[in-house]
């Protein structure tokens, strides 16, 4: 489904991703872990097409198309969903209106009929109940005055409604209490299916107690330096990221990630 080869990307001239390779197939759940500043969020944003991130080299194939050629909204319509680390507030636009516009944009793209207000309400009420979100959020402006937990749940709600083929969760667990964490995880588990892939980007292992990944990758200084099964996550939990630095040294004789080369 997704094949990334030697992806390099920079922000304002600073190279953040320095050659990422990754292959994700339908039905798989991948976790990308790594310390702060390793490039995790950059990776998620590059896949979603954020323009501040310049791709300088490499290739990203998604369902047999060159993903890098598509605009952000085309990527969304092609089924890529990014749950934002910091969901954006849009004053004056109700959550319901926003989500319906989004759903209909994607349905139009796919040649499907638009959903009318009545059917939409039915659909969204169902999903809200499933995810455990207060219905009052529907009439509030998108993410305006939402608590941290509400914002993240709102992202999961959008994901559930938009039915993506590839969902990327960018640090969705950060700042969540255990209940919210569980809701988020349940939301993700509910959409797990054989034709859908999920990439969970996270700093901590704890989310992976609830969303069991098929593969775990460690992103360090812009590269995936280690890949394995879910046991890798447990090792990171126990030993932290410190061992990577030493490991890195032996592999590529790198110094501290802060130092430019």
């Amino acid at each position: 489904m997704l094949e990334i080869k030697n992806l390099r990307a920079s922000v304002e001239g600073n190279e953040i991703l320095k050659g990422v390779n990754l292959r994700v197939r339908e039905g798989e759940v991948h976790a990308i872990m790594g310390p702060n500043g390793s490039g995790k969020s950059t990776f998620a944003n590059v896949i979603a097409g954020r323009e501040e991130y310049q791709v300088t080299a490499g290739e990203v194939r998604y369902r047999d198309v060159d993903l890098l050629e598509l605009s952000p909204e085309e990527r969304a319509c092609e089924g890529i969903f990014l749950a934002f680390q910091y969901p954006v507030a849009i004053p004056g636009i109700s959550n319901a209106y926003f989500l319906r516009s989004s759903l209909n944009a994607i349905r139009n793209y796919r040649g499907e009929d638009e959903v009318d207000a009545f059917d939409f309400l039915k659909l969204i009420r169902e999903k809200m109940k499933l995810i455990g979100i207060d219905e009052k959020l529907l009439n509030r402006s998108v993410n305006v005055g939402f608590s941290g937990g509400e914002k993240k749940r709102n992202e999961i709600l959008q994901m559930a409604v938009l039915d993506p083929r590839l969902a990327i969760l960018d640090e969705t667990d950060s700042g969540l209490d255990i209940d919210a964490l569980r809701t988020v995880a349940e939301g993700v588990n509910q959409i797990r299916s054989a034709d859908r892939a999920i990439i969970v980007v996270t700093h901590y292992q704890r989310l992976l107690d609830h969303i069991i990944p098929d593969f775990v990758h460690v992103l360090f200084d812009g590269r995936i330096v280690e890949s394995g099964g879910k046991e890798l996550a447990l090792r990171l939990e126990k030993e932290g990221y410190g061992w990577l630095e030493k490991g890195e040294e032996t592999v590529s004789s790198a110094t501290s990630p802060e130092e430019p080369r």
Partner: protein
């Protein structure tokens, strides 16, 4: 498509014939000289009054206004730039039917037709708006009559200004110029001297007007927009909602518009006045376009009366208007909700005046200015608390949004308080659409253009919700059309 056009062509021809015939019979005496030559002097003013068969008091009013106008100079304080207007080049009297009519929609600027389509304006309405002669079929007379009968039963007077002068001269004499005297400003004086027509609504004691009064039912007055005059009086305990304008772009060859609107609300009366203004804004290079210099003012004369202005201004090359409230009655309420959008080379200098005279009077001002392209958007307002306005309150909020780096947004609120128990609060902010907001929408599949229009609509929400339902929907679409091409 082809079939439609053929149909409408033959239809139009037929109508043209009908219209010509009507013209032949209806205006026999005046055909040859139905409009006056350009220029303005006392004789022209007298002639206008004579042709309209006006009573003596009205002629006097016009003449006084004209004499006063001659002593005045154009205001220079607005933040707008435009070439000098030659007031001797303007034709001040032209009978409505004399308007140049197009034979069919084929002759209408395709750009305008495209806009009609986007706004979802019905075909007949499109023709009327673009000046295609269809008056006879577009059954305005019967529609108008039906409503008139219904309103008549309640004692509501709603007619063109000329009709009202004929049928209710006493009312006109009593209220004309009572809120906007002819001395008020340069354009108000000009309007008072030469106003062509307009509309009058009079709501008697205790009557809640059962329908929105709108220009839609006011076909008679169409084409007299240049120096329009509106007078609405709501007697004790009555209420009325009046809609002015239309969301579709109006074809109009007049460059200068100087209208006057006067509202009077007596004890416990409520007037809600909503405007959607979409006159021709000029082309992308700023050529052409209407100069819209309007004086609108409401007098809350009675206790507990309320006047509410809501406006959505997206048209005109230059907009200069300050719908205001004089809060004279104790506990009276004034409201002003405004969205002004300027794109390309448009300039808008708009706002309101809230004059608090009575005790416990309250006013609210919500103004949203959107500037795009090279548009210049100015909010100018005055909140004045007079000596006796004990316990008066005002809250104002003026927000500007800039789209692009060639436009300007300006805020000039004036606050004058002469009473310590009065309270005034003013807030203003300027913002732009964040790239993160656009990306967030993009990531949810929404195109940049739709995202911008959505965010702008969200920005204007507090104003749109004051509009009557169907108007609000149209206003949103209109804003989306006006925004086109403003985002790269």
């Amino acid at each position: 498509m082809d079939r439609d056009r053929r149909q409408s062509n033959s239809e139009v021809e037929e109508l043209q014939e009908l219209a010509d015939r009507e013209y032949e019979f209806g205006f026999v005496t005046d055909i040859e000289s139905d409009s006056l030559p350009p220029g303005l002097n006392e004789d022209v003013v007298r002639e206008i009054s004579r042709r309209k068969n006006e009573p003596e008091f009205l002629l006097e009013f016009r003449l006084k206004a004209f004499r006063h106008w001659q002593t005045m100079t154009e205001p220079a304080w607005p933040m707008v730039k435009y070439p000098q207007i030659d007031f001797q080049e303007i034709v001040y009297y032209s009978a409505p039917k004399q308007q140049e009519n197009l034979a069919s929609l084929d002759e209408v600027d395709p750009e305008i037709l495209r806009t009609f389509e986007k706004l979802g304006i019905p075909l007949e309405e499109q023709k009327r708006l673009s000046g295609v002669a269809v008056d006879a079929v577009f059954d305005s007379v019967s529609v108008g009559t039906t409503f008139k009968e219904k309103l008549g039963e309640l004692g509501v007077i709603f007619s063109s200004f000329s009709e009202a002068v004929e049928e209710h001269p006493d009312l006109i004499e009593k209220w004309l110029g009572s809120v906007v005297p002819y001395t008020d400003n340069f354009y108000a004086a000009l309007n008072a001297a030469v106003f062509s027509d307009g509309s009058v609504a009079f709501i008697p004691k205790g009557v809640k007007c059962p329908m929105e009064l709108s220009t839609y039912f006011r076909i008679n007055a169409a084409g007299t927009g240049q120096f329009e005059r509106t007078l609405i009086v709501a007697e004790e305990g009555s209420s009325v909602s009046y809609l002015e304008g239309c969301t579709a772009p109006m074809r109009d060859t007049n460059q200068l518009h100087a209208a006057v609107v006067e509202l009077v609300a007596l004890d416990d009366a409520t007037i809600k006045y909503s405007t959607v203004q979409n006159w021709y804004p000029g082309d992308k290079e700023g050529r052409g376009g209407i100069f819209n210099f309007v004086t609108k003012r409401g007098l809350c004369k009675g206790a507990r009366s309320k006047i509410s202005w809501t406006q959505v201004e997206t048209g005109s090359a230059i907009t200069w208007k300050y719908p205001s409230c004089i809060l004279q009655g104790d506990d009276s309420i004034g409201e002003f909700y405004s969205v002004a959008m300027t794109n390309n080379y448009q300039q808008a200098d708009t706002g309101t005046k809230m004059l608090h005279i009575g005790k416990n009077t309250r006013s609210t001002i919500i103004s949203k200015g959107i500037s795009a392209g090279r548009g210049q958007n100015t909010y100018r307002g005055l909140v004045k608390m007079m000596k006796n306005a004990d316990g008066a309150r005002n809250f104002s909020q003026c927000d500007s949004m800039l789209l692009g780096d060639r436009c300007g947004a300006h805020t000039f609120p004036y606050i004058e308080v002469k009473n310590p128990t009065a309270k005034v609060e003013h807030e203003a902010s300027t913002s732009k659409i964040g790239e993160d907001q656009i990306f967030y929408c993009n990531q949810r599949g929404i195109s940049t253009e739709d995202a911008v229009s959505m965010i702008v609509n969200g920005f204007c929400k507090e104003v749109f919700r004051e509009l009557p339902m169907e108007f609000a929907v149209e206003a949103q679409k209109l804003l989306a059309v006006s925004l086109e091409g403003s985002v790269g």
